[in-house]
């Protein structure tokens, strides 16, 4: 094993940061060529490379931790800091969109009719599907916490059930929201209302999909006995991310769906 006098993990050289950077380049230039020249080759290549990078990078982390035991307590602590900082950066990402929304909605321009929602916009009823979505996400927050407790208590089957339920609720939210998007009486092109609505809720929806995928990976790992009752940071990181997604929705619901109607 390692000839080191410290408990940290000096990671072996890896190609995935490079492939990730290359995919970022391909995806950005791919977007440009798609919009200007209607070709999707670069974008498709970039996306494929991104998916491969993510799969292999995180697979390697699972190998290093679960199968090789490199994730000692200080290493885990560093990962916790990392996840917290990442989620914090995502919070600021959303703050930007909430800023844009409040900027336009608190003092509606005369071109909008001087009111919010702007003239001509029929907002969605906050007490219909959006309220259901709120209930779904809140419930999923409960089930993911339940899952955590069952893991800590060493109970495999309840953990499987609660984690599966969480994933199902996440998928249900996505399906409901997709239907809402399809049925909405306004579009992204409908002025600043449409823009703030779909960009904010759209990025949120993307994060729901990311969070659901994260939890699905956790579920898969759990079925393969990766987690111990004491050491299951991969799951905790997923749960933190899921709670963050839930909180963002609550802000979206209160600000855009409810106050904004």
């Amino acid at each position: 094993m390692a000839h080191q006098a410290h408990a940290y993990h000096m990671v072996d050289p890896s190609p995935w940061p490079l492939t990730g950077a290359i995919s970022a380049l391909l995806m950005t230039s791919g977007l440009a060529t798609w919009w200007h020249y209607k070709t999707t080759t670069l974008l498709f290549l970039g996306t494929t490379l991104l998916l491969l990078t993510m799969f292999q990078w995180w697979r390697d982390i699972i190998r290093e931790s679960t199968f090789q035991g490199h994730h000692s307590t200080p290493v885990q602590k560093g990962l916790r800091y990392g996840m917290v900082l990442f989620i914090t950066s995502e919070v600021f990402f959303f703050i930007g969109f909430f800023w844009a929304f409040y900027h336009s909605s608190l003092a509606p321009a005369i071109e909008l009719g001087g009111l919010w929602p702007p003239t001509g916009i029929t907002p969605l009823d906050p007490f219909e599907v959006p309220l259901l979505n709120t209930a779904v996400l809140l419930a999923s927050g409960v089930t993911v916490t339940w899952a955590h407790h069952t893991i800590m208590e060493g109970a495999r089957k309840p953990a499987l059930q609660s984690l599966t339920l969480t994933v199902l609720l996440g998928l249900y939210f996505t399906a409901l929201q997709a239907m809402e998007y399809y049925e909405a009486p306004f579009t992204l092109a409908d002025g600043v209302y449409g823009c703030t609505f779909f960009v904010a809720t759209g990025f949120h929806g993307l994060h729901v999909i990311i969070g659901t995928t994260f939890l699905m990976v956790c579920l898969l790992r759990h079925t393969h006995y990766h987690f111990t009752s004491n050491h299951h940071f991969g799951f905790e990181a997923g749960a933190w991310y899921w709670h963050f997604v839930d909180v963002v929705w609550l802000f979206l619901y209160i600000s855009i769906y409810w106050w904004g109607s």
């Binding site: 094993m1 006098a5 199968f67 000692s72 200080p74 109970a155 987690f227 009752s229």
Partner: protein, 126 residues
């Protein structure tokens, strides 16, 4: 050759089946089934777990012990070789740290405040 191939695949099939059953399922419906660190930790994590249980700290994860720094109670400085750099903060909040090499053998004194330091061998974990 066909017989050899058949035997080989039959052997592989037999051995993989043996690895499948989950022992924990017998332990009850609402309890058990998730391994503990005791059972499943491996590599460095396992080494540290074992050492911690025995009260040892081979990877210097814990805060160093406090010593008086006198001749009778010198600061004990662990080292995996026969010397180590010491940085003495003579008085609390001092910004000028006194750096010096501490060699094995007799205790040395900080050139500024005179605290005693003694090198002690530290087992290199492997």
């Amino acid at each position: 050759m066909a017989a050899r191939l058949l035997l080989r695949s039959a052997f592989r099939a037999a051995t993989t089946c043996r690895a499948a059953p989950v022992p924990a399922l017998t332990r009850g419906v609402t309890t058990g089934g998730i391994p503990t660190d005791e059972e499943q930790a491996t590599g460095l994590e396992k080494v540290i777990l074992k050492a911690t249980k025995e009260g040892k700290d081979p990877y210097s994860m814990l805060k160093p012990k406090e010593y008086a720094g006198t001749k009778a109670d010198p600061h004990l400085v662990p080292s995996v070789t026969n010397k180590r750099i010491v940085g003495c903060v003579c008085e609390e909040d001092n910004t000028a740290v006194i750096w010096f090499w501490l060699h094995e053998g007799e205790a040395q004194r900080c050139p500024s405040c005179g605290s005693h330091y003694k090198l002690v061998p530290h087992e290199l974990p492997h």
